[in-house]
Amino acid sequence: MSCSDEEGHPKYQNGSGVDPGFAEGELLFRRYKKEHYQGGQLLAAAFKFPSQSFNRQKYSKPEDVLHPDCCKGADLRDWGVLECSSTDLPTPIPGTDNRTFHFSAEHVPQECCYAHTVLLCTCGGVVVDKPSPKVREIFRVLLSQRMKVRIEATA
């Protein structure tokens, strides 16, 4: 996909590498649909598992997550934006089999969206895509409770 090159576009990768460090309290931004914010709360249904995508604050404005360059070309400017701290994620979460699952932010830049970041789930240093439903749902609930609305969705 070619980048838009619109004025004020999100930061592009332009050959830059991964920046692995996250400063204390660095925010993560994510877009959401209005239907996933109901009864005064963000629903856990807004989050997939694994590898939830975000934009990291160091290289992104909140509204960048709604820009077509960070949405694979889609125009989602009437969606909302959520934020949470990259260093206050709900982790670790114990499994029922005595294993403990850790969650962390990993910078995974995209050509047209350098700030792109994903949350990884690991156990014993190994990436786990599908822990038990208990771990997955507890993480989704706790993550949804830590997210705050930065820009309210209108659609």
């Binding site: 877009r31 649909k33 239907e35 996933h36 109901q38 009864g39 709360q41 629903l43 856990a44 249904a45 807004a46 989050f47 997939k48 598992f49 939830q52 995508s53 949405c71 694979k72 889609a74 989602l76 969606w79 709900p90 439903p133 208990k134 997955r136 749902e137 507890i138 989704r140 609930v141 706790l142 409770q145």
Partner: protein
């Protein structure tokens, strides 16, 4: 007398203020008939509310059934036919225990989420795309319980667990 407070006023007065001249054998059939009418009307009212709730949920399930992959713009799978069917069945089962959902939405994890909210407590049934289901109950403090249906919890107990959690 658990029903007195909800009885029609004239019936309540009759029951609360019997005189020495009232022959209970005479008014008892009247009271019984009035109670039967009241119970029937209340039942009809409840039934209508449940049907309305199910109609809302049904139209929502129809809408979700035509979603395409990447509906959340982050690559989410569309709800599968298995997930839609599982959601429809559990909603009908819950209707029997007079529980109606607060909302039904597509889940970014793939599948359908059925939410029940009351005060600061929330429960949802996650209907995964492979047909499996989990009941998730939590409060504002993050205290969360996850029960896999058919493994941790019998399907017949789902309604009761939701009601106890939301109570």
């Amino acid at each position: 007398m658990p029903y007195v407070a909800d009885h029609p006023r004239h019936l309540r007065r009759q029951m609360e203020e019997p005189t020495a001249y009232v022959q209970t054998d005479n008014y008892r059939p009247t009271a019984t008939q009035a109670l039967a009418v009241w119970v029937e009307k209340r039942s009809q009212s409840t039934s209508l509310r449940i049907k309305y709730g199910l109609m809302d949920a049904e139209s929502e399930l129809s809408r979700l059934s035509v979603l395409r992959s990447n509906w959340d713009s982050y690559g989410a799978d569309a709800p599968s036919a298995q997930a839609i069917d599982a959601a429809r069945i559990i909603l009908n089962e819950l209707a029997a225990t007079l529980i109606r959902p607060s909302t039904v939405v597509a889940s970014a994890s793939g599948g359908v989420s059925i939410y029940f909210m009351h005060g600061n407590r929330t429960a949802y049934i996650e209907n995964y795309n492979d047909g499996s289901q989990a009941l998730v109950m939590y409060d504002q403090n993050g205290s969360t319980e996850v029960l896999e249906l058919g493994i941790d919890l019998d399907r017949a107990e789902v309604g009761g667990r939701i009601l106890r959690h939301l109570d």
